[in-house]
């Protein structure tokens, strides 16, 4: 759970830095918010009990982990 929380925070942080970099570019909000929003939702989910239980399911953990890695990669290329 803690690692997913850190993953969520990482996405929010990278998304904001990405947003600063994209300022003035076309569709900048779409690019950066596609990193920030999943990060913020993941971060929030790690603090709410029902969603915590959902995130503890092994397959969900794996999917969330892959999504974090994919979005981190996306923040470098967009």
């Amino acid at each position: 759970m803690t690692n997913l929380r850190y993953g969520g925070y990482l996405l929010v942080a990278m998304g904001f830095i990405n947003m600063r970099y994209q300022t003035g570019h076309q569709n900048s909000a779409v690019h950066s918010l596609s990193i920030i929003i999943p990060g913020a939702l993941l971060l929030l989910a790690t603090f709410i009990k029902p969603t915590q239980k959902f995130l503890e399911i092994k397959n969900v953990k794996v999917v969330a982990g892959i999504a974090v890695v994919a979005l981190v990669a996306y923040s470098f290329i967009n």
Partner: protein
């Protein structure tokens, strides 16, 4: 930055599980900072034209806000790392975190208006305002935290002492870099370019020291405490 990220991630098995979150936080700090530098290089490339760098907030200009976005996201984590590696009782840890995190955020937020201003008075005013939360952080680290160090293993308290000195030394570079632009009165264009470069170098050195060296010191403390608590020192 990225090398430190890898090191602190792969070193997790060398410390007890309760100290691993401090190492993960350290990895995050250096990774976020590494990403920030990756983007700062992109921004320098885009804003460099005909031997000069355009500075401002418009598209294609280099904007110092980059650093502040990075700092506001990583500096509170640096302080949480210290608390995490000490593995204090929950109430004591929460009390320290709820004081250190808002103070570090206030320190950075108050520095930004002075950073982007070209007016010396504004720079000095916001420099003083952002120093106030910095002094409060020092008070918490040197006075409040000291009360929690009694039960730490031999050598850990001394390393924490060095960590605090490292924090003062590295964080001290930031205000020096911040004040560089006002050191020369009525600078020429070439002097302004030189001052800008000096400030960027100062911030970069401070970032490397405050994030990488700080993170490695956190690793050292986690390792010392793990060994003191019975973990086999085989690395």
């Amino acid at each position: 930055m990225l090398a430190t990220t890898v090191f602190t991630l792969v070193s997790q098995s060398r410390v007890l599980p309760k100290y691993r979150s401090a190492l993960v936080m350290s990895s995050m700090v250096t990774f976020i900072a590494g990403y920030h530098y990756f983007r700062i290089f992109n921004s320098f490339n885009e804003s460099s034209k005909m031997g000069g760098v355009t500075i401002g907030t418009a598209q294609g200009s280099f904007n110092e806000a980059y650093r502040y976005v990075d700092w506001i996201l990583t500096v509170p984590l640096l302080l949480v790392e210290v608390i995490a590696v000490l593995a204090l009782a929950k109430a004591a840890a929460n009390s320290l975190i709820t004081r250190l995190v808002p103070a570090s955020a206030a320190m950075i937020i108050l520095g930004y208006p002075g950073e982007i201003s070209s007016n010396t008075g504004t720079k000095v005013l916001y420099g003083i305002l952002s120093t106030l939360p910095f002094l409060y952080i020092l008070y918490v680290l040197f006075v409040e935290l000291t009360k929690s160090l009694d039960r730490q293993p031999d050598g850990v308290a001394a390393t924490i002492g060095r960590l605090r000195l490292l924090l003062i030394a590295t964080w001290g570079v930031y205000p020096i870099s911040y004040l560089i632009p006002i050191l020369v009165k009525n600078p020429s264009a070439s002097q302004m370019a030189s001052l800008f470069t000096d400030r960027q170098i100062g911030y970069t050195i401070a970032d490397v020291l405050a994030k990488c060296v700080f993170g490695l010191t956190i690793y050292k403390i986690a390792k010392m405490k793990s060994v003191a608590e019975g973990m086999k020192d085989d690395h």
